[in-house]
Structure formats: structure tokens, C-alpha cells
């Protein structure tokens, strides 16, 4: 290819020079030879040859020029020209580059997050063959250990399956106290299936499993090994205590392997067969205990659909064998790493929505750039007309305009990418919830940079083409005569106007959406939660970790309550196994009294169940609507009682009073309802009312204990008093004390993220709308200066001047804002999934959106308006 040759020649110019030199020397030599043959003396012959050849240097120069010129040279010339022009109007360049940097930056950030959460596979061997096996029912993502073993043994489509369970375990080494870490309990084949090699020591294998509690081994994460053991290689083979049981350190995982959940990184792994030592009960034999994540590796050549069909057959077989425990069991494959499909589903829809918004922001940025480019092209109509008339081709003029747009867009893209990479770094270090080891590891990869470059080029070329179209239509004589193509601009709505209108609409949409979610957030803090977190402290004490069994835990729990109640200022104290909205709580089917066949399909409803002490309801601020609170007289030997919430009472007993009636639990336990309390939120702020029951601590012993303390004192005073009292009882007790409102971080997390992201997008859109409207208004005013001058001279009023100067931008601003508001109201339905009570039917939201758009309009048109009003007709007319 000639162009490729030329580019290549540019870089090896000296070689080309030498080549040409040789050729010319050969020519002179050949003539000298002929001259000699004709009988000249050698000196004469050479002299004559040189003379006839002329100036060899200039010839060489011209020959070289032929090699490297044309397209390439013109391209360089275009770029130089662009840079010169851009430098002459830095305002344009800065606006355009900033605009694009915002648009491209937003896209790079959102795409990186999307990429690392949804697109990029786990960092293991054969990641594309790995699938997480979840149940068919939405929200049932876990399997039980016996089910896992059956799936693994009976399927024909997976080469292997592994199971893992997330947990927190207290680890103590040497004399130091126990510290709580997130860990995975994994089946023996875990590392082998994933194809991970240890960085140090060895991993455990399937062959290490010989029944319950047979493999007291622990594999450390690189992070824990460095943080807790100072990266000591001699640590291998030594013993640490996990919940007071000795485990031998086998090895250290490589630094880049952080488990099979994208967000939740374990600090260590232990064999699942030893779970009883950690958890205090044996779930390995309990088919109804669904708490494991199962990942399988599909055999080569098997499609996910075939695998699903195969597993479904196996699941139906299991249901026939275990009609109670495996009732309705099915199988579905999802991408692993997102805690099953529930989290994955939410993340997917949220990130997709964010990606759409980011693209819209970029479209707005492009619209802006197109507007600026078009305005500049219109200003240059005369210059371009001159160039066309003195022989420049339209193609050449267009190429220059395009080069200009692309140079600017690449600058914008680079700026945007740099900023967003910095932002992503901060995001990766961010720990959204202190108690949970949540990691948002977003590392931009090749794909991200490719997208950034592609977006930069696209967003340069498309806006660049718009003015190019204008050039194509330019009528040279017309343009030369009238100077600028004024008629084109003012008469009717142009593409530019529509683009600007869209941009304003987008801005209004985002502003509305972010206000809706902000209000929702605010409201969710005062929502009827079924308890009142204000003025209450939570003290979480893991008795299991401190070596208490279920039997010895109860007296300890009672002592903790009594001691805490004695702290001055404390109004009420109680315990609950896991406070609502802090990421725990299990569900169990409940049956009508007298149901014979306790299979899941016969259940009245699934109910959340909590284990509480007397006094909890008062301490939590939960209203008792009927009946009585639990009492210490409800002991293990007394008849089973329960307090239920309104939803439970209604679905179980209809409209008859619930107090005094009976129902059955999953284990055929019979409970009498002694009290009814108000409904509350248990899993998330946006959930629908759920049935819940509260059982007395003594009848459903649980050594997971959260002490709820309601106090008149400040939270800091209560916290220190609590700490003193509780460590006074048992100094080895692992404690975490925090105000209840702080503990709601997890529940508020989705809403916080949504609000933050929407606000950022809203601000971006507002900035873009302001620059867009400003650009257009300023341009329209400067085009009309002369007309305005004449009008002022003829005695026009200020309002008339304003209408003439800013009518179009204001009309666009108004119609765009209205459109955006309407769209925002419609889009809020989507938001309702993430944000508590997201509703646009809120006067504050509507007022806020209108106010925001008014501010956008005022900021954007202030300067052009004052310029228009300051028109001095005498000065203007003299100048023209």
C-alpha cells in the first residue's frame, strides 16, 4: 500500500535518502563510463557527467519528497493547523475537552465496574466452564450438604462440583486474643477443582476428608498471612485456634486468589467436614439445611442447557426420595461469584441501568460538542467559502474539520480516562461496610481501555460530521456575500436544537431520579421498621466463639442482660440472636395446627424466626399489639410459645384473634401464640411485609447473641460502660459494640449506592446542560448583536430584547425540562426496587427538580443575557 510505504519511509528517511543517493551516483557513473568509451579523459568524462546531471542535492530532495509526501504530510499539516486553531480559541478547546472528559470518564468508570463484576470471570483455570448451581425458585441460591453430595454423585454433565459456605470465625494464635475473620468452609476438592496452586505449603484435598472433624487444617489468604503472621514462612505446620479448636496451617493461597465470591474475600479456608467445630452443630447430615454455595465445572463439550436438564432430572429424583426436605427442588445455572442469583440479578439490573445513564451522559456530551463544532463551522462559513473558492476541495475542508474534532476528542478521552482510573483506584480501596470484608476490586483491563479509545473516537467523529454536512451544502457565493449563514440558524429548529433539548431532558431526568432516591433514603431512615434504632446500642457477642455451648450459653446470656441493665441510664435490655436488617435471620415454613404431612407445599407461609429474651421488645422499641411479652418462665420445659407479627397472625389465623391459638413449626414443634407485635423490616428496607415469629431464648437456644440496650446516655458513654461490664463477665468474649443506626449500613447500602451514583450522574448531566445552553445562548446573542443594537436604538424594551436574544434557548430549556421531569417520574418505578418508597409523587421532589432546572437555566443564560442587555447601539452600528 502506497500510504503504508510512505509512513514507513517517513521513519526510515535516512535509508531512503541513501537509496536515492546510490541511484543518482549510479547514473553519473554510467554516463562517465559512456563518456570514457567515447574517448574522453577520466576527469573530463566525470565533469561532463556531473554537469549534465545538474544539482544532485536538489534532485535527491525532490525524489525523497515524492516518497513521503501526500496523505501523510497533509495529515501532519492538518493536525498542526488544528492545534494552532485550538490554541487561538482555548475557550472552545477547554469546553470541548472537559465535556468529553466528563462523558468518557463516566463511561469508563461504569463500564469498569460492570466489566469486573458481570463480564470478567473468576481468576481460575477454565473460568468459562464454572457455573453456580442454584435452585429454580428465585432467591433460593443455597444447597444443603446431602443435596450437594447427591448432585455431585448422580450427574453426568459435570466433571466435578465443590461446595463452600461463608462464615465468620474467631482465630487466635499464641497468646493473643481471638479475632473475627471471614472464612470459607469448603469441600476438600475446592482448590483442585479451581486449579489454584498454593503460594506456600500445600492445600487440602478430597483425600484429606475422612468424615466429620477429620481434617483440622487451615489455608491462609495472602492478606491474612501478611497482616497477622508477618509473612513468616515458618508458620506452615504450626497450629492456630479456631473458635477454641486447634487447626494446623497447611499453606498460603496466592495473592491474586481471593475466594469464589467477587465481593466477599475470605481470610482463610477450612475443610467443610470440620464445620461442626466452628459452627457448633452438624449440618452435614441435615438435608433441609440449605446454606452452601455449589459450583460445578461442566465437562468439555456439554452445553449449559444440557447440564441444567441433567441436574433437573437428578433434582426430581431427589424430590421423590425426600419429599419433605427436597420439596420443589430444581436446578439452575448462574455465573458464580455473586452470592447466587439474587445479588447477581440486582447488580446486573442496577449496573445495566447505570451503563445506560452513562451512555446517555456521553450522548449529551457529544450533542454538546456537535453544537460547539457546528457553531464554529457556522462562524467560519466565510473562511471556508474562501478556501473552497480558491480551490480547496470539499473533502479537504471536511477532513480538516474532522481532524479538529478527533484531536479534541482524543484529548478529552485521555483526560477522562486518567481521572476515572484514579477514581477506580479509590473505589477498589473503599470498604463500604466496616464489619463486612466487602471488596469492590475494579481493575481496568485491556477491554476498558479499548472501550475508552473507541468511545473517544466515536464521540469525536460523530459531532465532527454534523458541521461537515453543513460544509457540503455551503453555497460559496451565498456564503461570501452574507458572511454567515444566518438564515440557517435562526429560522427553524435545527439538529443542534433537538440535541440540546435532549440534553436538557436528560439532565432533568437524572436530577429528578437522584432527588427521588435521596428523598427515599431520607424517608427510609424514619420508616416504620418495627423497631426504633435511635438511642439503642447493639453489643454482638459470639458465645460460640468464646467456647460456650448452646446449653451453657443461656445462663451467660442472662447474666449479660442483668449486668447491662444495672448500668446507670439504661432503660431496657434484651437479646436477639441477630438484629433485624443486619444481614442475617433465617426463614422456616410454618403449618396450621393439625397438619399431618409437613412438606413445604403444605406450609401456610415461610416465616422469619428470631430467638429473643424477655425485655427485647421493650429494648428494641417494638410495639406489642396484643397478648404479653415473653418471660423467663417460658423455659425449655414449659409449653412452646411464640410472639408473631401482624402478617404472620393474618396469614395463619385470618381475622380471628391470634393470641391463644396454636401453629406448627418445621420440626413438628407446636407453638402457642402469646403475643402479636407490629410488622417490621427484616431483610431489606424495600421488602414487602414478611411473616415473622419470635421465640423465647430458653426454648430455641442460640449462642449468637446480640444485646440490645436502650439508654438515655450518649452512645459513647453507653458503649464504654457496656464494654467494661461485659468483659468483666468474661474477658475472652469477642465483642462488637455499635449504635443500632450504624448497624443499618448493610440495609442502607443499595440505596446509598443508588443515590450516590444517581447524584454523580445528575451533576454531570447538569454541568453538560449548563455548558450546552450557555454555548447556544452565547452564540445566539453574539450572532444577533447587530439586530439587538438596532432594536435598542429603535426603543425596544428590555423584555423584548431578552425575548429576541434568548427566546430559543429558554424555550428549549423549558420543553426539555418538562420532558425530563415526566421521564423521571416514569423511571422512578424502576428505582423503587432499590430505594425505600421511591416515589416522584412528592412535592419536594418536584419542587427540587424544577428549582434545579431553573438554576441550570439561570447559570447558563446569565452571562449571555447581561451581554444582550448591555448592547450599546451607537458603538455597534459604528463598528459594522
Amino acid at each position: 500500500m502506497a500510504l503504508v510505504n510512505r509512513i514507513a519511509n517517513l521513519f526510515r528517511r535516512s535509508k531512503v535518502d541513501r537509496d536515492i543517493d546510490d541511484e543518482l551516483q549510479a547514473h553519473i557513473a554510467l554516463r562517465t563510463d559512456d563518456n570514457l568509451a567515447a574517448g574522453m579523459t577520466p576527469t573530463q568524462a566525470r565533469r561532463e557527467a556531473l554537469l549534465r546531471f545538474g544539482n544532485p542535492v536538489s534532485t535527491r530532495e525532490r525524489a525523497t519528497a515524492a516518497e513521503v509526501t501526500l496523505s501523510l504530510e497533509t495529515l501532519a499539516r492538518d493536525v498542526r493547523y488544528v492545534v494552532r486553531r485550538v490554541r487561538r480559541s482555548p475557550g472552545f478547546a477547554i469546553t470541548a475537552i472537559l465535556t468529553l472528559a466528563l462523558g468518557i470518564g463516566a463511561n469508563v468508570v461504569v463500564f469498569s465496574v460492570l466489566n469486573s463484576i458481570l463480564l470478567r470471570p473468576l481468576k481460575v483455570a477454565n473460568p468459562y466452564r464454572l457455573f453456580q448451581i442454584v435452585q429454580t425458585q428465585q432467591g433460593y441460591d443455597n444447597q444443603s450438604y446431602p443435596d450437594y453430595l447427591d448432585f455431585k454423585a448422580r450427574n453426568a454433565t459435570f466433571s466435578d462440583m465443590t461446595a463452600y459456605r461463608l462464615g465468620f470465625t474467631g482465630l487466635s494464635a499464641g497468646a493473643g486474643g481471638a479475632q473475627k475473620y471471614m472464612n470459607y468452609e469448603v469441600s476438600g476438592n475446592y482448590f483442585d477443582l479451581l486449579g489454584i496452586q498454593p503460594a506456600l505449603g500445600r492445600f487440602f484435598h478430597q483425600s484429606d476428608e475422612h468424615g466429620p472433624n477429620s481434617a483440622p487444617y487451615i489455608v491462609l489468604s495472602d492478606h491474612l498471612w501478611r497482616a497477622r503472621f508477618n509473612a513468616d514462612p515458618n508458620i506452615i505446620g504450626t497450629t492456630v485456634d479456631l473458635n477454641k479448636h486447634p487447626f494446623t496451617i497447611l499453606g498460603v493461597a496466592p495473592a491474586n486468589f481471593n475466594g469464589t465470591e467477587i465481593f466477599l474475600w475470605p481470610e482463610f479456608w477450612i475443610p467443610i467436614v470440620n464445620e461442626e467445630q466452628i459452627e457448633g452443630y452438624n449440618f452435614l447430615v441435615k438435608r433441609f439445611n440449605h446454606g452452601l454455595f455449589v459450583i460445578g465445572s461442566i465437562r468439555p463439550g456439554v452445553s449449559p442447557q444440557q447440564a441444567t436438564d441433567n441436574l433437573t432430572t437428578v433434582a426430581h429424583q431427589m424430590t421423590r426420595e425426600h419429599p419433605k426436605e427436597d420439596d420443589g427442588l430444581g436446578a439452575r445455572l448462574v455465573k458464580p461469584g455473586l452470592m447466587g442469583d439474587v445479588f447477581g440479578g440486582a447488580a446486573r439490573s442496577f449496573l445495566t441501568a447505570m451503563m445506560v445513564l452513562a451512555i446517555l451522559v456521553l450522548v449529551a456530551a457529544c450533542a454538546n460538542l456537535a453544537g460547539i463544532c457546528a457553531a464554529r463551522a457556522a462562524d467560519r462559513t466565510r473562511e471556508l467559502a474562501i478556501r473552497l473558492s480558491i480551490g480547496s476541495t470539499r473533502g479537504h475542508v471536511m477532513r480538516q474539520l474532522l481532524t479538529e474534532a478527533i484531536v479534541v476528542s482524543i484529548a478529552g478521552g485521555v483526560a477522562g480516562t486518567i481521572v476515572s482510573v484514579a477514581l477506580l483506584g479509590a473505589l477498589s480501596r473503599w470498604q463500604p461496610i466496616p464489619q463486612y470484608p466487602i471488596h469492590v476490586a475494579v481493575v481496568p483491563d485491556v477491554r476498558v481501555y479499548a472501550i475508552a479509545i473507541l468511545l473517544s473516537l466515536l464521540s469525536g467523529i460523530l459531532p465532527g460530521l454534523l458541521p461537515a454536512r453543513q460544509i457540503w451544502r455551503t453555497d460559496v457565493t451565498q456564503a461570501m456575500r452574507s458572511g454567515t449563514a444566518t438564515a440557517n440558524l435562526i429560522g427553524r429548529f435545527s439538529v443542534r436544537d433537538i440535541l440540546l433539548g435532549l440534553q436538557i431532558a436528560l439532565c432533568a431526568l437524572l436530577v429528578t431520579a437522584s432527588l427521588v432516591s435521596l428523598r427515599g433514603m431520607e424517608r427510609s431512615l424514619h420508616a416504620p421498621l418495627g423497631f426504633s434504632p435511635q438511642d439503642a446500642m447493639l453489643a454482638e457477642a459470639d458465645l460460640q466463639m468464646a467456647g460456650y455451648s448452646d446449653a451453657t450459653a443461656l445462663p451467660m446470656q442472662r447474666r449479660m442482660i442483668d449486668e447491662a441493665a444495672r448500668i446507670p441510664g439504661v432503660i431496657a435490655v434484651g437479646t436477639i440472636d441477630q438484629a433485624p436488617l443486619t444481614g442475617g435471620g433465617s426463614s422456616t415454613p410454618v403449618y396450621r395446627d393439625g397438619t399431618a404431612d409437613l412438606r413445604q407445599s403444605n406450609a401456610v407461609t415461610g416465616a422469619k424466626y428470631f430467638s429473643i429474651s424477655p425485655g427485647y421488645l421493650v429494648a428494641a422499641g417494638t410495639r406489642l399489639l396484643a397478648g404479653r411479652d415473653l418471660s423467663w418462665a417460658d423455659t425449655a420445659t414449659a409449653p412452646g410459645v411464640a410472639i408473631v407479627n401482624q402478617t404472620f397472625a393474618h396469614s395463619m389465623f385470618g381475622n380471628t384473634p391470634a393470641v391463644g391459638q396454636h401453629f406448627l413449626g418445621a420440626g413438628n414443634d407446636r407453638y402457642q401464640v402469646v403475643g402479636v407485635i407490629e410488622d417490621g423490616k427484616y431483610d431489606s428496607l424495600t421488602e414487602n411485609p414478611q411473616a415473622a415469629m419470635f421465640l423465647p431464648l430458653a426454648q430455641s437456644s442460640d449462642n449468637n447473641t446480640t444485646l440490645v440496650v436502650r439508654s438515655q446516655l450518649s452512645s459513647a458513654e453507653t458503649a464504654s460502660a457496656l464494654n467494661r461490664v461485659l468483659t468483666g463477665i468474661d474477658s475472652s468474649l469477642p465483642l462488637s459494640i455499635r449504635p443500632w443506626p450504624d448497624a443499618l449500613a448493610l440495609a442502607l447500602f443499595p440505596a446509598r449506592i443508588a443515590t450516590m451514583a444517581l447524584s454523580v450522574m445528575g451533576i454531570l448531566a447538569a454541568i453538560l446542560a449548563i455548558t450546552g445552553v450557555f454555548g447556544m445562548a452565547a452564540y445566539s446573542v453574539s450572532k444577533k448583536m447587530r439586530e439587538l443594537g438596532i432594536r435598542v436604538a429603535l426603543g425596544a424594551r428590555r423584555t423584548q430584547i431578552m425575548r429576541s436574544a434568548l427566546g430559543r434557548p429558554l424555550l428549549l430549556l423549558f420543553s426539555g425540562s418538562v420532558t425530563g421531569l415526566v421521564l423521571g417520574v416514569l423511571a422512578s418505578r424502576l428505582l423503587a426496587q432499590l430505594v425505600y418508597q421511591a416515589t416522584p409523587r412528592d412535592p419536594l421532589v418536584l419542587l427540587g427538580a424544577v428549582a434545579a432546572m431553573t438554576i441550570v437555566g439561570l447559570v447558563a443564560t446569565w452571562i449571555p443575557a447581561s451581554r444582550a442587555l448591555a448592547v450599546d447601539p451607537a458603538l455597534l452600528l459604528r463598528n459594522e
Binding site: A2, D33, T64, E67
Partner: protein, 113 residues
């Protein structure tokens, strides 16, 4: 830019024509050989200016009309040999047609005047 050249009726256009024709006739030649051939074929009437020949050759090579390679002459000197490409052959036809038209036009004018 090749398009623009073919319609030009200036000396450079004619030099291109002469070079292309020479290469079409002689097959493969070095620059000096081209000069000699044109001189001889025109009965010493046309004297190619060597300072213009080489830029023209290189330009034609970049346009893909001729290809070049280094080889040895009968006198054992290293020289760059040029030969016509398919594109060059088409260009030759076009240039020849163009030139014929020019000559007919000039002759017609001269006859009329």
C-alpha cells in the same frame, strides 16, 4: 493525486508519458538507460532533464505505476531498474490517449488559424 496528474497537459505529464512508454517498450531499465532510450528514439530531439527524471520516477513508483529493483548492469555497476506495473500500463494508455487529444487539438487550432 494520480487522477489530477492524468489530466494535466504540462511537461511533467509528458515526461511521465515518455517514461512509461519507454518502459513498456524496453521492459526493464535504469534511469540512465531511460534517458538514453528517449534521446535515441526521438532522434536526439528530446533531451530528458536528469534532475526531473528521478523525482518523476519516484513519484510514479509511489503511485504504483512502476516497480523497481536493484540489479547489475552489463558493465557490472549496481543500478536501480524500473519496470511497468499493470496500473502503469493502464496509466500509459490514458496518458497516450490524452496526449493524442492534445496534439489533435493543437493541430486543429493551428490549421484554423
Amino acid at each position: 493525486m494520480g487522477k489530477a496528474d492524468s489530466s494535466k497537459n504540462d511537461l511533467q505529464g509528458n515526461l511521465d508519458l515518455l517514461v512509461l512508454k519507454t518502459l513498456a517498450h524496453a521492459g526493464s531499465l535504469h534511469g540512465y538507460g531511460i534517458v538514453l532510450h528517449i534521446q535515441r528514439a526521438s532522434d536526439e530531439l528530446l533531451n530528458v532533464e536528469e534532475g526531473s527524471l528521478y523525482p518523476a520516477l519516484h513519484r510514479m513508483e509511489q503511485s504504483g505505476w512502476v516497480a523497481s529493483e536493484w540489479a547489475f548492469t552489463e558493465t557490472n555497476r549496481r543500478a536501480k531498474y524500473y519496470k511497468l506495473t499493470a496500473a502503469g500500463r493502464r496509466q500509459l494508455e490514458a496518458a497516450q490517449e490524452n496526449f493524442d487529444r492534445l496534439v489533435r487539438g493543437v493541430r486543429a487550432v493551428l490549421r484554423y488559424a
